[in-house]
């Protein structure tokens, strides 16, 4: 009797971005994340799905929330994790990204979660090591797990993505969160708009299938959900906008502006927030905000990604299938 051929992995070896995933693959990750949400509600927040796997969190850029979120995801799957915080550019340090990659491979790491300041660095690493590589943010290119958790949060709130009107507001030019969201949302059938100062709007953005709003009021009137991006202080010093004060006056998401929104408009923010710049506190802490659910969903989505990349079967939590569920 011949053996059944090994199943084709549902996802590529690396999660570099949402641009190269199909709608089905994205839906698979979201569906897999649902049951992992439940794990985080248990008193003992652990499943043995990735027991024995070694995962390195390779963060070249400072990040508290994303790194902690990944670390919780990894530990809740029972993996062994190591955090490497490489400060500054690898060039300054003296060790190139290529050498870092080779060293990791030599230590037989199973998975690497990388955040790096250079666009393309996740792909660069993934092409050179056999370990699974998960992009936790590469330069201005993509932040796929953020895009995924944003999708999951919207789906939780609205029941679907298709036909939803989502406006991404802020510094689109420098935002990997914006790009990942644009890919994820358009692939799942949402209508996407971007809004922000023209000096922070990338060339050709309309060619990605998004509407461009010049004024935040237009975006608020139109949207079912706003994804408000963090404005980095450097944009002011680099001369893209005259001042943060002006930014808040013209583009800030304030309670007054939200009064013109749909009743149930949803406010999202990838964090960390600059309260009083892109978003006012009473909005961030108000009834429309799903900012905290985003964070909760972040851990679940990351668990799903790690699990699927490691070869886990999508129906793991059903007894008799996959790697078994339940706490130990």
């Amino acid at each position: 009797m011949s053996k059944a051929p090994p199943p084709t992995p549902p996802l590529p070896k690396d999660l570099v971005g949402l641009e190269e995933l199909s709608a089905d693959q994205i839906r698979l990750i979201l569906d897999t994340a649902e049951p992992f949400k439940e794990v985080s509600e248990r008193p003992i927040k652990k499943v043995p799905a990735l027991r024995g796997k070694t995962i390195v969190n390779l963060f070249f850029e400072a990040s508290t929330r994303t790194r902690i979120s990944f670390e919780f995801a990894e530990k809740r799957l029972s993996a062994d994790t190591v955090n490497v915080a490489a400060s500054g550019s690898s060039v300054v340090k003296g060790e190139t990204l290529v050498d870092t990659a080779r060293n990791l491979e030599a230590m037989r790491i199973d998975m690497v979660v990388i955040r790096h300041h250079a666009s393309g660095s996740a792909r660069f690493l993934g092409d050179r090591i056999r370990s699974n590589v998960i992009n936790a943010g590469d330069g201005k290119h993509e932040h796929p797990t953020q895009g995924l958790l944003d999708l999951l949060t919207l789906r939780d709130r609205f029941g679907k993505i298709e036909g939803l009107k989502v406006a991404i507001c802020g510094d689109i030019l420098h935002s990997r969160v914006a790009r990942s969201n644009i890919w994820g949302l358009t692939k799942l059938g949402a209508e996407v708009a971007v809004c922000g100062p023209q000096s922070l709007m990338p060339r050709g953005i309309a060619d990605l299938g998004v509407t461009v709003f010049k004024r935040i009021e237009e975006a608020i009137e139109w949207a079912d959900a706003l994804n408000v991006l963090r404005l980095q202080l450097e944009r002011m010093t680099a001369g893209f906008i005259p001042s943060l004060r002006e930014y808040n006056r013209v583009f800030g998401v304030t309670r007054e502006r939200l009064a013109r929104a749909r009743r149930d408009i949803v406010i999202m923010h990838p964090g960390p927030m600059n309260r009083g710049v892109e978003i006012d506190s009473d909005v961030a802490d108000g009834p429309h905000s799903v900012i905290l659910p985003q964070v909760t969903n972040g851990v679940a989505v990351r668990m799903a990604v790690l699990y699927l990349l490691a070869g886990g079967s999508p129906d793991w939590q059903h007894p008799g299938g996959g790697q078994g569920g339940g706490a130990e």
Binding site: V98, A118, S119, G120, F124, G139, H141, R203
Partner: protein, 430 residues
């Protein structure tokens, strides 16, 4: 004493005289002695059967980086001159952004003597516009010319100060010297690593707008008109620049311009996958820009093809796109790319291409060569314009390997390169 050489029965194309006939070419004492049918060479001369091949004046590349002095691990004058010869070039002009910069007679002389020792393609040094290429004070053009420089440039970088460019153009007139500018406004291009457009947006890379080149092209053309100097514009990459040059030429401004083989072949799509061998300055642009450059070579708005040969170390290119250095090799693929992209597509005839790669470069910088008129230097190339070959960077004579064309099939290459009446390159089997 070099033996005379008889190149027998090739299709002799001399763009300087507009001739294209099957004929023999006889080279003696470092000069073209005769071109005609049925030449009987003297006893002891070397005879090459050139039937089925093209015999033309050697190609001339006005813009290469040979990295010596200072970065001899990437390339040297000798290896660069050899790579040039293998590419069919009998002469190249070496840009001065070496270490030390070619802003003094000592370094000019050093490069010339290294070239003489290598005895491959001729190497003409280009001197710096400003001392150290720092853009502050003029270099001593008189001293540089006296030592052998054929032009001045701060390439690698633009001449940012309009006052300095104006003075350079005026002062260079005293020596009939072209001033070659790398047109880039650094405040517009700062931090950019590829063309500013949809591909950069998708890849999350900072872009360099076409305007960064065009504002400097416009400025240089205006200053050339003001001063009556000869401005030579390096590696033109945008359709806007082409338009500006076209109009300036119509007005009689003394401008000449070059375009690289990669700008007439590739677009910013080549950066997909963060391919660092598609990273150069000026960057690869949009299909419309590539089209405009091709048309400009047809109508002469762009005078010559110049490779901007820029060797880089494998390790340097094997890194994140943001950090990788700009530039690719060019000498050993230039002719093949030009034939494939311009002649095979019917945009240029082979004689027209050879005009752009041999005769016109010699005219633009006032160099010997580019002609097979009797008495001219015996700088000749035997080309196979029909052969299809696969680019193999591992077989390059250059010390470096940074090219995006590895594995590409091109049409046309050099079989035999002769400088000063001596064979400096022979492909096995000619």
């Amino acid at each position: 004493m070099t033996r005379p050489i008889l190149l027998r029965g090739g299709l002799v194309i001399d763009p300087s005289r507009g001739t294209e006939d099957v004929a023999d070419v006889y080279l003696r004492d470092g000069k073209v002695a005769a071109v005609g049918r049925g030449i009987a060479g003297e006893d002891g001369c070397l005879v090459y059967q050139a039937a089925g091949k093209v015999v033309a004046p050697g190609l001339i590349d006005l813009h290469v980086h040979l990295r010596e002095p200072g970065q001899e691990d990437l390339e040297t004058v000798a290896t660069g001159a050899m790579a040039a010869a293998a590419g069919g070039f009998t002469a190249v002009c070496a840009m001065p952004n070496t270490d030390p910069v070619v802003d003094n007679q000592g370094t000019v002389g050093f490069i010339i003597s290294q070239a003489q020792r290598a005895a491959k393609a001729r190497v003409y040094p280009i001197g710096a516009v400003s001392l150290g290429q720092r853009g502050e004070r003029l270099a001593e053009f008189g001293e540089l010319v006296g030592a052998g420089a054929v032009a001045v440039s701060d390439d690698g970088k633009p001449v940012v100060s309009s006052h300095l460019m104006r003075t350079a153009l005026e002062y260079a007139r005293s020596f009939d010297l072209p001033v070659a500018d790398h047109c880039e406004d650094p405040s517009l291009s700062a931090g950019g690593v590829m063309h500013e457009g949809l591909v950069a947006t998708r890849l999350g890379l900072k872009g360099i707008p076409a305007a960064a080149e065009e504002v400097m092209v416009a400025r240089d053309l205006i200053l050339a008109e003001l001063t009556g100097g000869h401005i030579h514009l390096c590696h033109i990459s945008t359709r806007g620049s082409v338009e500006l040059i076209r109009r300036a030429k119509e007005k009689g401004v003394r401008v000449t311009a070059e375009a690289t083989p990669h700008h007439l072949t590739l677009t910013h799509d080549a950066c997909e996958g963060y391919n660092t061998n598609a990273k150069m300055n000026p960057p690869l642009r949009e299909p419309e820009d590539r089209e405009a450059i091709r048309q400009a070579l047809v109508d002469g708005t762009i005078d010559v093809i110049a490779s901007d040969h820029a060797p880089h170390h494998y390790d340097a290119k094997e890194r994140e796109f943001d950090d990788a250095p700009n530039g690719i090799l060019g000498l050993e693929t230039a002719f093949g790319l030009a034939v494939t992209e311009l002649v095979e597509t019917g945009l240029l005839t082979l004689p027209e291409l050879l005009f752009r790669m041999s005769t016109r470069p010699a005219q633009v910088f006032g160099l010997p060569g580019g002609t097979l008129a009797p008495g001219a230097p015996a700088d000749v190339v035997v080309l196979d314009p029909k052969v299809r070959w696969t680019v193999d960077p591992g077989a390059f004579f250059s010390k470096s390997r940074n090219t995006p064309f590895g594995g590409r099939i091109l049409t046309g290459r050099a079989d035999l390169t002769i400088v000063r009446g001596r064979v400096v390159y022979e492909r096995g089997g000619v």
